[in-house]
């Protein structure tokens, strides 16, 4: 026993991660963000904005490899011939203005450059192809993309895509990375006895259940959460043993199906999340298809192999705020150190629901807007039920303020928050922080083909429990890609905060005066802002 304890102490002192765990509880400023490291695509042919073709005239002279600073033309050791260009690194036609434009420099004129027509078949109004490619690049490098990709705005023609930061509030000074910017938020604002949990970035990962996504993704996300000292969430499918090493960074979700919810899993979590509804399918329960219920999934959910699993809606024991308080009290009793998060969707009376949840004892109100992601949801629900998050945030923020409790509760928004700029806008509209789901999966090279639920599941090995398909993804890949994406986001947050003259992201909460909406500007003013990108999308 003594040896064990000693070993533990040594481990504690040696490992960085123990220090981060420690800091998460109390001293957010001890934490240092991890370094980015390159994690390239899993696939041989990457998708870029531009394509470069090399014709048979190429004599493998190596000129292109020598001049290209972006590494588009790799030169292999012990192989004299030219190899296929790494197209996604190519910065395209703007390279013409430089002295390293390979198309002109090629003595044989063997190279051609054009825009990739494949992009027309990718993406949708909310996640256009360029936004996806930019996230691929951020996840690969940990930096903002070098290629001219539009990653702040989608083509949805409303909400975040029409909101801009007010020009007059931005000082256009160049970014100074020596100035410390605080992007941390604290999740416990009530003055109770429970731990003060501070996370170093204004967001954490959303719930994705065991069974709906591959185990490697779940563990990889938890590893990323540990490195970033933030949190991830189990989703409603139980708490697999593989997540134990990261338990200080894993939220347990108690959803309506109560699948895999045990006293142990509640006891070991820093935060317990009650999921009343999910933005993608508000008012409807979850549904895991029979084919995804493998032996392991069935075991952890305590169900039968191969049978589809429906979660009811709502909690059949909660039909009022009083019933809800009973639930919260029950969990608080089981785990006296946990914070309580309440995840609700966005009905017309979302403000009432939020205040009710607060008075029942929640530390975090998590509102999930209707355009959020999911592994499988009826199209009719995703499109039609409940209001978009852009409306819900100010509605709830203002109501909490008018009730005088806004300072006592952490308001987290999710559902359709796609990029770092959306996070800034959501916080300026009134949220404290956000929860990210889909963007993380995009970082793992999800192409939003929407077939998470069909056949054997996701062809790209993300949303599937198929043994063969799971082989295409590893925990290490997941961890590094997600860390990289958030590091790139943080860089963008710091730049914007500096331009706004702020030292901390907490100063931004509810600053709607920093925002403009294109529809509310006159013609002359509107022309000063970047127009919403136009696109002829075929859905």
């Amino acid at each position: 026993m003594r040896i064990l304890r000693k070993r533990f102490l040594v481990q504690f002192l040696n490992s960085k991660s123990s220090i981060t765990e420690y800091s998460m509880k109390n001293k957010g400023d001890l934490f240092k963000f991890p370094e980015a490291s390159t994690m390239p695509s899993r696939f041989r042919n990457t998708i870029g904005k531009y394509i470069i073709r090399r014709s048979a005239n190429c004599t493998s002279c190596g000129t292109c490899a020598e001049i290209c600073p972006s590494g588009v033309h790799p030169k292999l050791k012990d192989y004299s011939r030219s190899v296929k260009p790494i197209e996604h690194k190519c910065i395209g036609f703007k390279c013409q203005e430089t002295d390293h434009y390979c198309i002109d420099a090629c003595p044989q004129k063997a190279l051609t450059l054009r825009e990739n027509p494949l992009l027309t078949t990718m993406g949708d109004f909310r996640w256009p192809a360029e936004m996806m490619l930019a996230h691929f690049a951020m996840a690969e490098t940990g930096e903002k993309p070098k290629v001219d990709l539009e990653y702040n705005l989608g083509c949805s023609g409303g909400g975040f895509d029409k909101i801009r930061l007010k020009n007059s509030k931005l000082n256009n000074t160049p970014y100074d990375d020596t100035v410390e910017i605080d992007t941390s938020i604290s999740l416990n604002k009530s003055e109770d006895e429970r731990p003060q949990i501070t996370i170093p970035m204004p967001g954490y990962s959303g719930g994705m259940s065991y069974g709906s996504i591959a185990l490697a993704i779940m563990v990889g996300r938890a590893r990323a959460a540990k490195r970033l000292n933030t949190l991830t969430c189990t989703g409603e499918g139980g708490y697999p043993d593989e997540l134990h090493p990261y338990r200080d960074h894993v939220i347990t979700q108690v959803a309506t199906g109560l699948f895999g919810v045990t006293e142990e899993s509640i006891k070991r979590s820093p935060i317990i999340e009650f999921k009343y509804a999910q933005g993608a399918k508000p008012g409807l329960g979850g549904h895991l298809l029979g084919s995804k219920v493998t032996a392991e999934v069935a075991a952890i959910r305590e169900t039968v192999i191969g049978r589809p699993l429906f979660s009811p809606f709502p909690f059949h024991s909660v039909y009022s705020v009083e019933d809800h308080k009973k639930h919260v009290d029950w969990v608080k009793e089981i785990n006296p150190n946990a914070l309580i998060s309440v995840k609700v969707s966005t009905p017309t009376d979302v403000d009432m629901v939020a205040v009710g949840a607060y008075y029942a004892g929640a530390h975090i109100i998590h509102i999930d807007g209707s355009y959020g992601g999911t592994g499988a949801a009826p199209d009719i629900a995703k499109k039609n039920i409940a209001m978009p998050i852009e409306y819900a945030i100010p509605k709830v923020h203002d109501f909490l303020k008018s009730e005088g409790v806004r300072d006592k509760v952490c308001l987290i928004a999710s559902g359709g928050i796609r990029n770092a700029m959306d996070v800034i806008k959501a916080i300026a509209l009134g949220a404290d922080g956000v929860v990210i789901g889909t963007a993380e999966l995009i970082a793992l090279e999800c192409v939003r083909c929407t077939n998470c639920e069909s056949g054997r599941g996701c062809a790209r090995g993300i949303a599937t429990t198929d043994k063969e398909l799971n082989k295409v993804i590893t925990e290490k890949f997941v961890e590094q890609r997600i860390v990289n994406m958030y590091l790139a986001w943080r860089q963008q947050w710091c730049e914007i905060l500096q331009q706004l003259g702020m030292k901390s992201i907490r100063e931004l909460v509810g600053r709607t005066d920093l925002l403009v909406h294109l529809d509310y500007l006159d013609q002359a003013e509107r022309s000063l802002y970047q127009p919403a990108p136009k696109s002829s999308m075929v859905l």
């Binding site: 695509s41 895509d161 939003r448 083909c449 639920e453």
Partner: protein, 462 residues
């Protein structure tokens, strides 16, 4: 308790290859030819198996309609010979409202009877014209929902098409004075109508009438297409008559539950004559959605009419030339006018034109309709591509004229099952147990204009 209504579904595969969205391009000149790692063999959806057989039999290559666009083949081919385009035939399907997506979704529902389910979040624009500018409400913690879709709570979708008396009169001995009008109920807030154009052979009409009959709803139909083949379904047919021609169909009127009369001034004078032939007859009056529709509605509702059927354009708009409004606004106007005049309880309002998706039915009801009438979707369920070649007497690419009534009716029944289940989802989320309770419940919906004004207006208005 009455028997719970349920629509049985079965798998009815299409007769032709549906037009797929993606088509693969291979730059074959770059292909190594004998590559053992060929990605085509590894496709997890096995879509290339079909493609191979086409090659072998030297048929014209079909578009690979099953492609799920996972990009695995594009990204994994060792020579990178694959690319992908959007099938031009797909992009050219349909029109503004009946988009390629609407058409393919309708096909899939008619094929499987399942509601469309997909992963990832919503992919469409933030808001849109017409019904796309409405979000429906959901209930949470403070209000109960209804768990309809998994059958744990029964949600009733039936509506009446018969009029309701505004009060009862009694004799001195407390017996009823006079007869009560008949009560005619249909289990879905959806009526069928014969489409305005398309390949309308006997078998196509028969498929629709048979489906209406099996579903328990009704189909509005021209009397001259009621042939021997359709006659078994007379109890589900609503002949479309006019003031001039109704006397020619007296025997038909005896056999049908309802007739539809085209509106003209003084049409109410015909009601008594029709009811003399068939006392149980319901009378529906069809009114075009023109500028005076609201006035006609309150005029007609005062008479002994059962149902008013307003029809707009196929794009779901009013039939006026300058600034036609969308169905949602017109339904509201007519509904509220009748509410003001205290006539709304007496008659039923059904609307047609531009009802393309299940959500349009629910949203029409929220705006104040009792039900809707659909025509085009029935044709699309039987694989119509809305190419309008039939209008020019060119052969139908989907060979609609060869439809077998069993096939056609099963596809339509599947579509209606999927639509009804989607309505149950929406109503369950709203906490509504009866579609009749949803009528005019605008409080259970959120309108784009209102949210903008209430929330963004106070923030961004200068």
């Amino acid at each position: 308790m009455p028997k719970k209504y349920n629509i049985p579904i079965k798998n009815v595969p299409p007769r032709n290859f549906p037009v797929g969205k993606f088509s693969t391009i291979e730059f074959r000149e770059d292909c190594a030819g004998s590559c053992r790692n060929c990605v085509k063999k590894k496709c997890i959806y096995n879509i290339f198996d079909e493609n191979y057989s086409h090659m072998r039999s030297m048929k014209a290559p079909e578009y690979i309609y099953q492609c799920y666009s996972c990009f695995r083949c594009v990204q994994e081919c060792t020579k990178g010979i694959f690319s992908r385009v959007i099938n031009p035939e797909y992009s050219s399907l349909g029109d503004e409202l009946w988009t390629p997506q609407v058409i393919t979704i309708t096909w899939r529902q008619a094929h499987t009877g399942a509601i469309p389910v997909s992963g990832a979040g919503y992919r469409g624009p933030f808001t849109g014209e017409g019904f796309d500018g409405i979000w429906t409400d959901m209930s949470e913690i403070v209000r109960p929902t209804r768990d309809g879709i998994h059958g744990r709570e029964y949600i009733n979708t039936s509506i009446e098409v018969s009029r309701r008396p505004q009060g009862l009169k009694f004799n001195k001995d407390m017996s009823l004075d006079g007869d009560l009008p008949p009560i005619v109920e249909i289990p879905l807030p959806i009526l069928f109508k014969q489409p305005d154009h398309g390949v309308l052979t006997d078998d196509v009409i028969c498929s629709m009438a048979s489906a209406a009959n099996q579903l328990g709803t009704m189909m509005i139909i021209d009397p001259d297409v009621i042939t021997q083949a359709v006659s078994p379904y007379l109890k589900s047919l609503v002949p479309r008559l006019t003031r001039e021609n109704h006397r020619n169909y007296q025997t038909l009127i005896q056999d049908v539950p309802m007739v539809e009369l085209s509106y003209e001034k003084g049409i109410e004078k015909e009601f008594a004559e029709l009811r003399k032939i068939n006392p149980e007859l319901c009378i529906c009056v069809s009114i075009p959605l023109e500028a005076n529709a609201v006035a006609i509605a309150s005029e007609m509702a005062a008479f002994e009419v059962d149902t008013l059927h307003f029809y707009g354009t196929d794009q779901g708009k009013e039939k006026v030339t300058d600034n036609p409004r969308f169905l949602k606004d017109v339904i509201q106007d007519i509904h509220l006018e009748l509410v003001d005049k205290a006539l709304r309880q007496k008659v039923n309002l059904v609307f047609s034109g531009g009802i393309a998706l299940s959500e349009h039915v629910t949203k029409s009801v929220i705006c104040g309709a009792d039900g809707v009438v659909i025509g085009r979707s029935l044709l699309i369920a039987m694989e119509c591509r809305l190419c309008y070649r039939c209008n020019k007497d060119i052969a139908c690419p989907a060979k609609l004229e060869e439809v077998d009534p069993d096939f056609g009716s099963a596809r339509i029944i599947n579509l209606m099952a999927a639509w009804r289940n989607q309505m149950l989802e929406m109503m369950g989320a709203m906490g509504i147990k009866e579609v009749r309770r949803l009528r005019g419940e605008m409080g259970r919906s959120m309108w784009f204009e209102d949210l903008e004004k209430e929330i963004f207006g106070s923030i961004f208005k200068q």
